[in-house]
């Protein structure tokens, strides 16, 4: 019987909710803290679904039947270390961004906003359709256009 107990379920729900909420903020530092909290939640989840509290898996301290499952522990250990690596790197990024820009807000992408405000794409095919140009006095399908010599290329 490995079911997660109710108390810890609530703890996990709170950890994940807070983590997600902070992740949705615009301050880079809040986002970072959100990632740390999410990391805590994930490590705890990994460990908890491994089984109920039991004896540490150290040979000689208890019979192996009483051991907690060692596999999720090994995985969670790796996860803890990786979370740490990511945290410090993001911290450095946030710091750098603050040094350069003067704040640590995550801004909207200006180019994306510009696209959203457009009605037609740049270089729309209707630009070619609309008869607004002036460069086409000459008929491109005409014989004159086809035998234009290279030497007097500037005629047009």
């Amino acid at each position: 019987m490995i079911t997660l107990n109710l108390g810890m379920t609530i703890v996990l729900a709170v950890l994940y909710s807070v983590g997600f909420y902070l992740l949705l903020q615009r301050s880079l530092m809040r986002i970072l803290i959100g990632i740390v909290v999410l990391g805590h939640g994930a490590n705890l989840l990994l460990q908890l679904v491994g089984g109920p509290p039991a004896r540490a898996p150290v040979l000689g301290t208890a019979p192996p039947e009483l051991f907690a499952d060692p596999l999720p522990q090994a995985l969670a250990l790796t996860a803890i270390v990786i979370t740490f690596a990511m945290t410090t790197y993001l911290l450095a990024l946030g710091y750098r961004s603050w040094v350069l820009v003067g704040h640590d807000e995550v801004q909207d992408d200006v180019e994306d906003r510009r696209i959203a405000e457009r009605e037609r794409p740049e270089g729309s095919m209707s630009d070619d359709t609309a008869d607004t140009g002036t460069d086409d006095d000459e008929d491109p399908g005409s014989a004159a256009a086809s035998s234009e010599p290279a030497a007097t290329g500037g005629r047009r």
Binding site: S17, V18, A68, I82, E148
Partner: protein, 791 residues
């Protein structure tokens, strides 16, 4: 040579690739060299006439038979007729091009290579006996057409026409590919000859045929997809003559011709072809009478004739197919010289406008005779090939009679009246002396322009006077259809069938056409009265414009540029997809315990309280302390859970994280939010809270459900415990990390190293800036290069 057909096709492409080397020496010679290969192909095709008239010549490349990828080719009667058009006319037009493009024309080298490459892929298309092979060549011709219509991309008209032709034909091509796959899978083979010999039944096949038809209709410029063809007249005239009159636009007709013997009996096949073909024939013929540009006049004429061919090939029946193959050959032989005439007129006078040309006929009798020969064939005047085809076409529908026969027959009569009218209009427009218009000056056209025009125009006359050759080919093709009665089985192309209904129809068509031309002022008034803003060209523009607007709309919505929006979408997707699966398929475990161990209660409380406090806190330092509290409490939970190694790592990492945070925080403002910044929108924050808590609760519930579904620890855990003594470690976790899963640990260390390098470089970069700039005050200034960007 084992595979002469494939070799011929490939030879075209290879020669086209090296043709620029010749162009560098002489542009005119490049066209000459290019013409050799199509001419050789024509000779080879005619040398195999006997084979084409019997069983045909076929070959297969066994490439990947298990995937039905077996390019196969076949030379039969239809293939031979198409070789005459593709290679015969191709060689003539290449020679014509040598004189059409000037000696020094910048466009000449690419046109020579592209025209030859096109001749190659078109040859592959008409000889393909495998639907997938056909599809590949089909799309290659679309690309060649795009490049040849677009030319250098200098002119807007070229670009627009090229894109329109490409969009329309590739749209059709893609739907055709879908249809081909349906049909091939239903039949169990992609070989056209096998599918036609034993056509598969079923609803899927009907869908496949409709999809394939879409490809054929777009390629052959049938209503309502026809506007791309007149627009493509922006290409140089030899290109128009070759691609858009003689060969490429026939691809759709050829496809219909190849499949019709198997499917002509099905209403899902012949009804759309015959109806749309007739509509196209009438619309094209009507519009051709109103055009003032000779080239566009011919383009609408081509649209009309393609509709005619569609009707004939789609209808099925012995005589109809005899007529179809004859008209296919005739159309190429009269339309190509007519285009060449337009090119010559344009070349020697500098205009193609009906309203500006006058008196050219007197000055250029040789040109007039060639034009009359070709136009007479188009109009269906006796002694010419067009007459033979048209007679057979009337016979094909009037002989069986009935509602269908008479309706189609009368439709063809009206279409033929239009054809005669615009044939006369073409001759009148190009050569007549018009009152009130100055007689144009014209130079003598070069022999290199005249000879190809004459040869192809004369071919129509010769074949028209000697029907036996065409008749043999047409009979061979039509033999796929059973003859319904003695008249059908005994029908042959002939100059004189006696006084008959088809002859009456031919006479009516000629008289009606002449009358329409005499009354052109009234026809014009009717045309104006019928004018509506609705047109197929407008429809194309609306569709393309709508697609563009839709793309911008979707991009604008999907790509909002806001990180919170993206994350929210991700979370909502998690809730929607795995969440639904959880609700539908998950089962809440019945024996869930309240708590695992007593100590979990206080530790859990610390985690909950500290986490919730994180939401309210405004000082950065407090937040970091709270995160630390959460981390240490979780370390405590690990101890309770029986994971001292985890707890140790957690305590260590938490301490290091705190230290790192403090290093950075010392330089950042004390509060998260800039006091001058506007306060965050409450409703937005509420929405974020709802999404976040829903996702958090989902994860917790998933944890419960999934852990409840688990019955046993993994067998690997037992193995690890059992084998741990062999590693010399008492601690099973240590044994796993440094022995059993040591490679994972190496990877983990690598990640740490990379992160450390990244962190160090970011921190050092700031220090470097500071040293160089004599101290960048944090947040108050930016390095030089950043200032330029940030403004």
């Amino acid at each position: 040579m084992e595979l002469p057909l494939l070799a011929l096709v490939l030879a075209h492409l290879v020669l086209a690739a090296v043709l620029p080397l010749v162009s560098r020496r002489s542009r005119r010679a490049a066209f000459g060299v290019a013409a050799i290969l199509p001419a050789a192909t024509l000779v080879w095709g005619l040398a195999n006439l006997r084979a084409a008239l019997s069983t045909g010549l076929s070959e297969t490349v066994s490439w990947a038979p298990a995937l039905h990828l077996e390019p196969s080719f076949r030379l039969d009667a239809l293939g031979l007729v198409m070789i005459v058009l593709v290679s015969g006319l191709g060689a003539l037009i290449l020679v014509y091009s040598a004189w059409y493009f000037g000696k020094d024309s910048r466009d000449a080298p690419r046109n020579a290579a592209l025209l030859l490459a096109f001749a190659g892929v078109m040859l592959g298309l008409v000889l393909a006996d495998d639907l997938l092979t056909l599809y590949v060549f089909w799309e290659l011709t679309s690309i060649a057409s795009f490049l040849l219509v677009g030319q250098g991309g200098v002119h807007r008209a070229n670009r627009r026409a090229a894109v329109q032709a490409l969009l329309v034909t590739v749209f059709g091509g893609l739907s055709m590919l879908l249809g081909i796959v349906f049909l091939g899978e239903a039949a169990g083979t992609y070989r056209i000859s096998e599918i036609v010999a034993d056509p598969p039944p079923g609803g899927l096949v009907t869908a496949a045929l409709v999809l394939i038809l879409l490809g054929a209709l777009t390629k052959s410029a049938q209503f309502p997809f026809h506007p791309w063809l007149p627009a493509a007249m922006a290409a140089p005239t030899p290109v128009s003559a070759y691609l858009h009159a003689a060969s490429m636009v026939k691809a759709g007709v050829v496809l219909v011709a190849r499949l019709s013997p198997g499917f002509a009996g099905r209403p899902g096949w012949w009804v759309p072809i015959v109806v749309l073909g007739l509509v196209t024939m009438l619309i094209g013929g009507w519009r051709a009478q109103q055009e003032t540009d000779l080239k566009r006049l011919l383009a609408f004429g081509t649209v009309s004739q393609l509709g005619f061919l569609m009707v004939l090939f789609g209808a099925g029946g012995r005589i109809a197919e005899v007529a179809a193959l004859t008209m296919l050959l005739a159309h190429g032989l009269f339309k190509a010289p007519l285009f060449m005439v337009v090119g010559i007129v344009d070349k020697i006078t500098g205009t193609r406008d009906v309203g500006k040309l006058s008196g050219l006929g007197r000055a250029q009798p040789a040109l007039v005779v060639a034009s009359v020969l070709a136009a007479a064939s188009m109009a269906g005047i006796p002694l010419l090939l067009g007459f033979l085809g048209k007679e057979a076409a009337f016979e094909a529908f009037l002989h069986p009679g009935g509602v269908r026969g008479w309706l189609v027959g009368l439709g063809l009569l009206v279409g033929s009246v239009f054809t005669v009218a615009y044939s006369v209009r073409f001759l009148w427009g190009a050569f007549a002396t018009k009152p009130g218009v100055d007689v144009v000056d014209a130079a003598r056209p070069a022999a290199g322009l005249m000879a190809p025009t004459w040869i192809s125009a004369l071919a129509g006359l010769v074949l028209g006077c000697v029907p036996a050759v065409t008749d043999a080919l047409a009979q061979r093709y039509a033999a796929a259809y059973p003859a319904a009665d003695a008249v059908e089985s005994g029908y042959h192309l002939a100059l004189w069938h006696g006084l008959s209904l088809p002859l009456l129809f031919s006479v009516l068509a000629l008289a009606g056409g002449a009358l329409l031309h005499r009354q052109r002022a009234r026809v014009r008034a009717v045309h104006r009265a019928l004018h509506t803003p609705l047109s197929a060209q407008r429809g194309y523009e609306l569709v393309v414009g709508g697609l563009e607007r839709l793309a911008v709309l979707v991009t604008g919505r999907v790509q909002a540029g806001s990180l919170p929006v993206y994350l929210a979408v991700l979370l909502l997707t998690v809730l929607a997809v795995p969440g639904t699966a959880l609700v539908l398929g998950g089962e809440w475990p019945r024996d869930q315990p309240w708590i695992g161990a007593l100590m979990q209660i206080p530790l859990g409380l610390i985690v909950v309280v500290a986490s919730l406090a994180l939401l309210r806190v405004r000082r950065r330092f407090t937040a970091v302390l709270l995160v630390g509290a959460v981390g240490y409490a979780i370390g405590g939970l690990f101890v309770v859970d029986g994971a001292p190694d985890l707890a140790l790592a957690q305590f260590l990492v938490e301490t290091l994280t705190m230290v790192a945070f403090v290093f950075v925080l010392r330089r950042l403002p004390a509060h998260f939010d800039n006091p001058r910044a506007p306060r965050p929108n409450r409703s937005v924050q509420a929405r974020k809270a709802v999404i976040a808590s829903a996702a958090g609760v989902f994860v917790a519930i998933a944890g419960v459900v999934l852990s409840g579904a688990r019955q046993e620890p993994p067998s690997a855990s037992g193995d690890f415990i059992a084998l741990a003594p062999e590693t010399g470690a008492d601690n099973v976790i240590a044994a796993i990390l440094v022995d059993f899963r040591a490679l994972d640990t190496v990877g983990e260390i690598t990640v740490l190293l990379i992160a450390a390098a990244g962190t160090a470089s970011l921190v050092l970069a700031t220090r470097f800036d500071r040293r160089r700039r004599d101290g960048v005050r944090s947040g108050a200034g930016s390095p030089e290069h950043e200032e330029e960007i940030l403004g």
